[in-house]
Each structure stands twice: as C-alpha cells, then as structure tokens.
C-alpha cells in the first residue's frame, strides 16, 4: 500500500535512513454474508495474520454479527504495516468494535513509523457499525492511517473514530511526533467525505484557536444510508443538534453536526476530557439508528 506524503515521507524529510526493513507486515480480511435460511449475518471467510486477530463472530440478537478486533501485540509498534479489509455482503449487518484502545507506541530510534490501511466495502442494503475505542498515540509515536470506505446502493454506515491526545492520565498531551489520517468515503460511486489530517504538534501547535484550542480529544462520526433523500438528512441534522445540545457544557466539549454532500451526515466532537466523548457518540448513534432503521442500537458486548 502506497502512502503518498505518509510516515515514510515524513521520515525522509527528517533524514531518517530507510534501510531497516518493516518490523511487521500483517493483514486481516473479514468477509461477512447474510445466511439466507436463518437471516443471520455470519463471518463467511477470513484471513488472519498476527498481530491482528478476530476470535469469532457473535450474534447480536437482531440478526447482526459482532466481532472484536484484537491486536495481540498490545498495540502498534514502530515499523508495523497493518492492513484491514472488511467486506459486508448484500443485506448483511455487521458490528465491529475493539477489545480496548488502540495504542500507538513510540518507534525505536531510527525505526520506521507505523501505518495501517483499512479497506471497507458495504454491499447493497448492507449495514456496518464500526464502533472502536479511542486511538492513543504515545509520546514520540509516528502513525499514518489510510481508510477507504465504499458504500453500495442502500448501504448503511455508522463509523466513529476517537483520537486521544496521548496518555492523559500521566499528563502526556500531544507529545507524539506525527499523525496522519486519510479517509475517503464513497457512496454509490460519489465521493461524499474526504479527510486529510496531518498533525505534527511540535511544528504546528494544536492548541491554536484555529485547531483544537483548549480541547484535547477529537472524534468524528459518519452516519450514512445511501438513497435517503436530502430533506430527511436535514430533519435528522436538526434532531441530532437538539440531542447534542443536551450532552454537556460547551466549556467541556463541543458537538457539531452537518449533512454531507449526499447520503449522510457527520458529527464532530472536541472534548477536554476523553471520557466525555463515548457517551455522546452512543446517544447520537441511538437517535440516528432509530430514525434511519427504526431499530435500537445495541451497544457491543465487550470481551475485556
């Protein structure tokens, strides 16, 4: 996987030798299908290379399959090149969560940074709920992530990501070296959301009022269902704005919501304390899932 302007590029700029081979190249592919007889979504196929691992798929009681993503090495290490591929078949419903926060460790001196590529495809009338814990970049970490999501006609998506400033409890705030997040979200062949985030706190301070100001944790939540009309998204935007207005004081956390160019909306959060984010995301998820699917949002059972 090529990452233009990625960790490798940053290292080249920094003059770090690229002679050392990657520490680990691994991939995890998950193929989900809806069983026509039972109506239950099943993990029909998978390809797993350590440290990425999924133990099994659990039924959620509403026909969906739930899997927990594990990184058996405990976190992402310098030089890791990881790849996650998720295919959700037609009419299948999938919930993916993590068994804990994704920790990104500082690479050893002279070692490469860490990168992860995520490729996600949701088939016609399929639904993917991606509800992971936070990403925590440790001091000195260098991380690059590229995510491509493709939604077919009628496909749905609930996709959140939470970025912590570091190990808050030990006062480690924005001490990572660099973090790059690239996301392309396509719905029915149309590009509806693109993120290109490059954070280098030592070069461009994140507490600038043009960036995070006094806030520390940042979260993005994409909510999509291909084919739902613009007017319905406007109604949901207004409804979610009312919900978000009740989620806390503006001094502590900011919530914003907006319709995308088509087929969905995005919710953004900036919070002073990371622990305030998840309850809000779940509230948004519950409201939106009820509005779009007339079904309850089932909070994923954790294995830890």
């Amino acid at each position: 996987m090529e990452f233009a302007g990625s960790v490798a590029g940053i290292e080249r700029e920094a003059g770090v030798a690229l002679l050392e081979r990657p520490h680990m190249a691994a991939s995890l592919r998950l193929d989900f299908e809806r069983d026509l007889l039972s109506g239950q979504t099943v993990l029909a196929g998978s390809h797993q290379e350590p440290p990425l691992k999924v133990v099994r798929a659990f039924g959620t009681g509403d026909g969906a399959a739930l899997v927990h993503l594990h990184n058996v090495s405990g976190g992402l290490l310098g030089g890791d090149r990881l790849r996650l591929e998720v295919n959700v078949g037609a009419d299948a419903q999938v919930q993916i969560t993590t068994s804990g926060a994704t920790r990104i460790y500082r690479p050893r001196a002279g070692a490469l940074g860490t990168s992860q590529a995520n490729e996600v495809r949701v088939g016609p009338q399929g639904l993917l709920e991606y509800l992971p814990d936070a990403v925590i970049p440790f001091a000195g970490a260098r991380f690059s992530q590229w995510t491509s999501i493709q939604l077919a006609d009628g496909a749905g998506l609930f996709w959140w990501e939470i970025l912590a400033p570091g190990r808050e409890a030990r006062g480690e705030i924005f001490e990572y070296e660099s973090l790059e997040l690239k996301t392309d979200l396509m719905a029915a062949g149309r590009l509806i959301a693109v993120e290109r985030v490059r954070l280098e706190p030592k070069k461009r301070t994140l507490d600038s009022r043009a960036r995070l100001g006094a806030y520390r944790t940042w979260a993005t939540f994409y909510i999509c269902r291909v084919g739902v009309g613009a007017a319905e998204w406007m109604v949901l935007e207004a409804e979610l704005r009312a919900v978000l207005g009740l989620l806390g004081r503006r001094e502590d956390l900011l919530w914003g919501v907006s319709t995308l160019a088509a087929h969905g909306l995005v919710v953004r959060c900036a919070a002073k304390r990371g622990r305030d984010v998840l309850p809000g995301l779940r509230e948004v998820w519950r409201t939106a899932k009820w509005r779009l699917y007339g079904r309850l949002a089932v909070v994923p059972r954790k294995v830890n």
Partner: protein
C-alpha cells in the same frame, strides 16, 4: 551613453541597460501572456478584490460562531488567522492551483474544444473532492456560492470556452463550483501567472476574514490593516508550500472552525449567511 538597437550601453562601464519598453516586453512573456504584465497585474488585483460583486462580504465561513462563543476575540485574531492560513489556506491554495493547471493544460493543447468532455470530467471531480473535504454544510454552500458567482463574472469578461463549459456542466450535473477552484480556473484561462494567482487568492481570503472581523469584533481600521499586513509573509509561505502538493494529499485540520460552520445555522442572531 550609446544606443544600439533599442539597448542602452553605458559608455564608461559597458553595462547594458534595457529600455523600459523592452523590459515590459520581456515581462509580458510569451505570446501576449498576461502573466506579469502591468495589465495582467491590474486584472488580477481586480478579480481578487473583496469588492468584486460575488458576495464575498456575506460569508464568515464559521468565524461568526467562534466569535459568538468567545473562542476568538480581537486579541486572538492574528494567531487564529495564521492557523487558518496554515490549514484552510493551504488546502484552498492547493485546489486553486489545481483549477489553474486544469485550465492551462487544456489551453495548451491543440484544438482544446475537442477535449471539453475530458475537461468537464476533471472539473466536476475536482469540485466534488473539495466539497467532500468541507464537513460543514453552510461553509460548503458558501464556498460554492462564491465560486459560481466568480466564474459567472469571469464568463462575462470575454468569450472563454472553458469557463462556459465549467458553468454548463456544473449546472447540468448539479455539481458545486468552489471558490478556490473557480479562481484558479479563471486565472488560468486569463493567463495570469500561477504563483501570483494563488497569492492573490490567499490574500483575498485573509482580507475577507479580517473584514468580517471588523463587523464582528471591536477591531478598528488601523488594527485590521496591521493584522493583514503582518500576515503577508505567511501568505507567501503557504503559496510556496502549496506548489508541491497534490489535491490527494492536501490536508486541513480546523475542528473549531468546522464546529463554527456546523453551529452557524443554529445561531440566534447572525450577520453572515454562512
């Protein structure tokens, strides 16, 4: 001083001095390129002026919400604007260049009218990508309003096939025309010099925001002038940095301004459309 074929040669030093009319010819560039000619500079200044009737004064692009929430005041403004240029300014500069190069590329080929279909596809994709990078609906539509108006203004200045095609295909496909892309395309079609066009665009963005702040904050004319004056080195730096970046890699991280754009529709009292 002696004169030989329009060139002055200083008799004692032997140094050649081109007469001013010859210098102007050199600056005009190739085949009437307006690039750095006086006329080209004047036209670029005109199109980048915030007084151009495209609605630039009606948009704060989320800043009004930040001021209302007291995240940004007159004291924090210089630092905010520097950050704005490093993030949103950089992103828009990259797309301005892409629009410019799209126009220039098609003008450089023989019989560009035969390539209009290919141009239309690239034009729509460029605008779609930039729209997808603007999470706040109001800011997206504000940028699109300025872009459409700007291109219509340019289209009224002459017979420009690419501008006509851009307006036609965007309308036909329901696509948005973003301001930076439109400014780039217009500048390419008018054969301005690329770096100067990007500089002028960035400067007009900064000037528009400072102007908005004069209406939102207790910010006097002298202070506003000084703020804009001191931003100029940053504008030059962003212009230079944008030259080597593709639209696939152009980044932007402005969570607070995104929040401002998302919250703007819910503000009880508003001076600006977006």
């Amino acid at each position: 001083m002696g004169r030989a074929e329009g060139t002055y040669i200083h008799m004692s030093t032997g140094i050649r001095n081109e007469p001013f009319w010859a210098l102007r010819e050199i600056r005009m560039g190739y085949e009437g390129d307006l690039g750095r000619s006086e006329l080209g500079e004047l036209r670029l200044l005109h199109l980048a002026d915030s007084a151009l009737p495209i609605g630039g004064l009606a948009h704060s692009l989320g800043l009004e919400s930040l001021v209302a929430a007291e995240f940004v005041g007159a004291r924090e403004l210089p630092e905010f604007l520097r950050g704005f240029l490093e993030e949103a300014g950089f992103l828009e500069a990259v797309f301005c260049r892409a629009g410019f190069r799209l126009g220039s590329r098609f003008l450089a080929v023989e019989r560009p009218e035969d390539r209009l279909q290919s141009f239309a596809r690239d034009w729509l994709a460029l605008n779609e990508r930039l729209g997808a990078m603007k999470p706040a609906r109001e800011s997206r539509s504000g940028s699109a309003s300025l872009g459409r108006n700007f291109l219509a203004v340019v289209g009224g200045l002459g017979d420009f096939a690419l501008v006509r095609e851009a307006l036609r295909v965007s309308k036909g496909e329901g696509g948005l025309i973003h301001h930076s892309v439109a400014f780039g395309l217009g500048s390419g079609v008018l054969k301005f010099e690329e770096d100067r066009a990007v500089l002028a665009f960035l400067h007009s963005c900064a000037a528009s925001l400072v102007s908005a702040c004069q209406r939102l904050l207790p910010l006097g004319q002298n202070a506003a002038t000084r703020i804009l004056w001191e931003l100029k080195p940053a504008i030059v730096e962003i212009m230079r940095r944008s030259a080597g970046c593709s639209v696939e890699d152009a980044w932007c991280f402005m969570p607070l301004l995104d929040w401002g754009g998302m919250e703007h529709p819910a503000l009880a009292m508003r001076l600006f459309i977006s």
